[in-house]
Symmetry: C2
Subunit: 329 residues, 2 copies
DNA sequence: TAACACGATGTAACCGGTTACAGACACCGG
DNA sequence: CCGGTGTCTGTAACCGGTTACATCGTGTTA
C-alpha cells in the first residue's frame, strides 16, 4: 500500500496538518520540523494522492478536449496545440473522441466531471448538451458556431472562401461542384456560403452540391466516380482528404487536372503538398493553443466577458487549381 | 453549488447509503424508496462527483498514454487506436506529450497518479523512470525495448527491414545512406540492424549513417542537400517524413528517383502514397488498441504473466524504389 | 406463539488530502 | 510579574462519495 500523509506524520512525529504545511511550503514551520518531515517523505517515498488533493482543493488541475475523431491530421494537430499550452499551464489533458457514438453526451458529461474546463469541437454533441455542460464547467467551443455567452475560437472561413472562389472562377470554371455535407460540419456551411456569395456575382455560374457522409478519400473518390460521365469544371471540396480522393480518381482515369477540371481542398494537410493540391491553410495548432488559453482565462477568472476569436487562414495555390508551374512549398 | 449525495438524501428523506445503493443499482431497495430517490436525483439534477467516487472506490476509471509528440500521423493514429479501445472499456484517456521537455519524468509521475494504468511510448522517459512507475501503476511499453517484467507491444522491425533491404539491393543500389538517429528511437536501431544484416551478405555494399536530430521533412531535406555533391544509390530513411524531405529536395533539383537514387521511408503515412514513396506499413491504430487491451488485462488482473507482443508490418513498394509503374494504392 | 431469517434502511467509518481555528509556549514591554 | 503578541503546532471538520455493520420490522416455521 502506498504511504499516506498520516504515515508520514507518524514517521516524522508530527500531525498531518504540519506535513501538509511543509509540502505546500507554508510559512511558520520551524526549520527542524520541516527537516524531519522532509526526511520522512524521502524515507517513505511519499507522493500526495492527486485524488485526495483534488477533492480537498476542489480543482482537478486537468482540462478536457472533445473532438469527433483523431484520424486525419486536422484534429491531431489541434489537440497537440491544446496539450502543449495546457501542459505549460500545469494542467493534464483528457481527450474524448466521440466518434459518432450515440452515447457521446454521456461520455462528455463524464469527462466534464474530471476537469476544470472543457473544449468542445465541431461535430460532437448537440448544442443543448453544450449549454448544459457550460453551466457546470468552463467551456470553449472550437470550430463550432457561437452560442450566446460561451467562448469560441475558430478559423476564418468566409474571407478565405471568397479568395478561394475567386481563384476557382479565375481559372475559368463555371460549373462548380461543392463536395461535403455542410450538415456534418459547421465550418462547411460558412465556406459554401462564402463561395456562393462570390459566385452569385458572376454570370452563368452553376453550383451543385454533393454531400458525403464521411470526410475521407474514399468519399471524395466516390463523388468523382459518380460524376465521371459528366464532369463539372471544378470540384471544390470541404477538406483535403475529400479533394485528394477526387484527385486520385480523376488522375487514375487520365483526366487532366487542372486542364480539364480544377480541384481544391481545405486544411493544407501534409499530403496536399505532395499532391499539388490548392487549398486553404488553417492554423491548426494555433486553434488548440488559443482555446487552451481562453479556457485558462475563464478558469482563473481573469476574464469574465465571453470572447469569440477568429484566426486567419490563408489560400495556398498549387497546381490543382490556378497555378500552372510545379510547386512544392 | 452543485448538489451532493447528502442533498439528494435529504430531499428524498432517506440516508446517503440508500441513495448510493439506488445509484449503484444494488438490490434490496424497496421500489417506492428507489422511486423517491430517482425523483430527488432528477429534481436536483444530481450527478455523483467523479472525485468522491474515485477516492472511495480507489480507482480512477482512466488510463494514460505518454508519447513524445503528436505531430506527424504516427502518434496521432496510435493514440486514436488507444482511445477507442479505452472508451469501449469505460475508461477516460489522459494524454501527455513529453516533447523533449526536461521535466518529463515529473510530468509522467503526475499523470500516473491520475490513472489506473499507463502506456509509455518510445522516446519519452528513461528506463529507470519507467521501472519506478511500473511498480506503482500497471504499465505497458509501446514501441520501446523490453524491460523485464513489463508488458510491451511493438511493430515488427526486423523482418520487414529484411524485406526492405532486399528491395533496395534488388534495385541495384550498393551505396546506402541510413537517415535518422537510432539513438532517438529504439525502433530505428532494430531497423538498421536488420538492414545491415542483409547487406553484409551482399558483396561491395557500403553503408553510411546520417543521424538527424529530428524526424521531420526539414531534416530529411537537409541530409539530401548536404550529400548533393556525392549522391549515394539509396536513401533509406527512418520514417516517411524524413524520406519525403529527401525526395522533395532531390526532385526539386531534378534528380531522377528512382533512376539515379532510390528512397524509402517507414510508417506509410498518407502523404507517402501521394509521393509514391516505398515504405513499410505499420498497424498504427492496432498498436494503440493492443496496448489498451493489454493494460486492461493487467488492471483487471485477468493476466499476470507479462506479455511481449510484436505486430506484423508490411512492405509497400511504390515508385521511389523498385516499382517502375505508377501506383496509388 | 416464540425463534428465526431476511429484506430494507440508517449509522458511521472509511478513502487521502486541506485548512480554519484553537492552544501552547516564548518573548516582549510596562 | 502580568498581559499581550507572535510563532509553531495539533485537533477536527471538511471535500463527496462507498460500504461494513447494526438495527428494525415483517413473514415464516416449529
Amino acid at each position: 500500500m502506498r504511504p499516506t500523509i498520516r504515515d508520514v506524520a507518524r514517521q516524522a512525529g508530527v500531525s498531518i496538518a504540519t506535513v501538509s504545511r511543509v509540502l505546500r511550503e507554508h510559512e511558520n514551520v520551524a526549520a527542524d520540523t520541516r527537516q524531519r518531515v522532509h526526511t520522512a517523505v524521502a524515507e517513505l517515498q511519499f507522493t500526495p494522492s492527486r485524488l485526495g488533493r483534488s477533492l480537498a482543493e476542489r480543482r482537478h488541475a486537468a482540462n478536457g478536449i472533445v473532438f469527433p475523431d483523431l484520424s486525419g491530421p486536422y484534429y491531431a494537430e489541434v489537440v497537440l496545440g491544446y496539450e502543449s499550452v495546457a501542459a505549460e499551464l500545469g494542467r493534464s489533458v483528457l481527450i474524448l473522441s466521440t466518434h459518432g457514438r450515440a452515447a457521446a453526451p454521456a461520455m462528455v458529461e463524464e469527462i466534464a466531471d474530471r476537469c476544470d474546463g472543457l473544449v468542445v469541437m465541431g461535430r460532437t454533441v448537440p448544442d443543448e448538451v453544450v449549454e448544459r455542460l457550460s453551466r457546470r464547467v468552463p467551456t470553449v467551443l472550437l470550430a463550432r458556431p457561437h452560442i450566446a455567452g460561451i467562448d469560441s475560437v475558430k478559423a476564418d472561413n468566409t474571407d478565405t472562401a471568397t479568395a478561394l472562389a475567386e481563384q476557382v472562377l479565375d481559372s475559368g470554371a463555371r460549373h462548380l461542384v461543392l463536395v461535403g455535407d455542410p450538415g456534418l460540419s459547421p465550418d462547411l456551411s460558412e465556406r459554401w456560403a462564402g463561395i456562393e456569395r462570390v459566385a452569385s456575382r458572376v454570370p452563368d455560374v452553376r453550383i451543385e452540391h454533393r454531400p458525403t457522409t464521411t470526410f475521407d478519400e474514399a468519399a471524395g473518390a466516390g463523388v468523382a466516380r459518380a460524376m465521371s460521365g459528366a464532369l463539372p469544371d471544378a470540384f471544390v471540396c470541404g477538406n483535403d482528404e475529400l479533394a485528394l480522393g477526387v484527385l486520385g480518381e480523376l488522375r487514375s482515369h487520365g483526366v487532366d487536372v487542372p486542364g480539364r477540371v480544377v480541384v481544391t481542398g481545405w486544411d493544407d494537410i501534409m499530403a496536399a503538398r505532395y499532391a499539388g493540391l490548392t487549398t486553404v491553410r488553417q492554423p491548426m495548432r494555433g486553434l488548440g493553443a488559443r482555446a487552451a488559453r481562453m479556457l485558462d482565462e475563464i478558469i482563473t477568472g481573469s476574464r469574465t466577458e465571453p470572447r469569440h476569436d477568429v484566426l486567419p487562414t490563408e489560400l495556398v495555390v498549387r497546381t490543382s487549381c490556378g497555378n500552372s508551374r510545379k510547386e512544392t512549398s
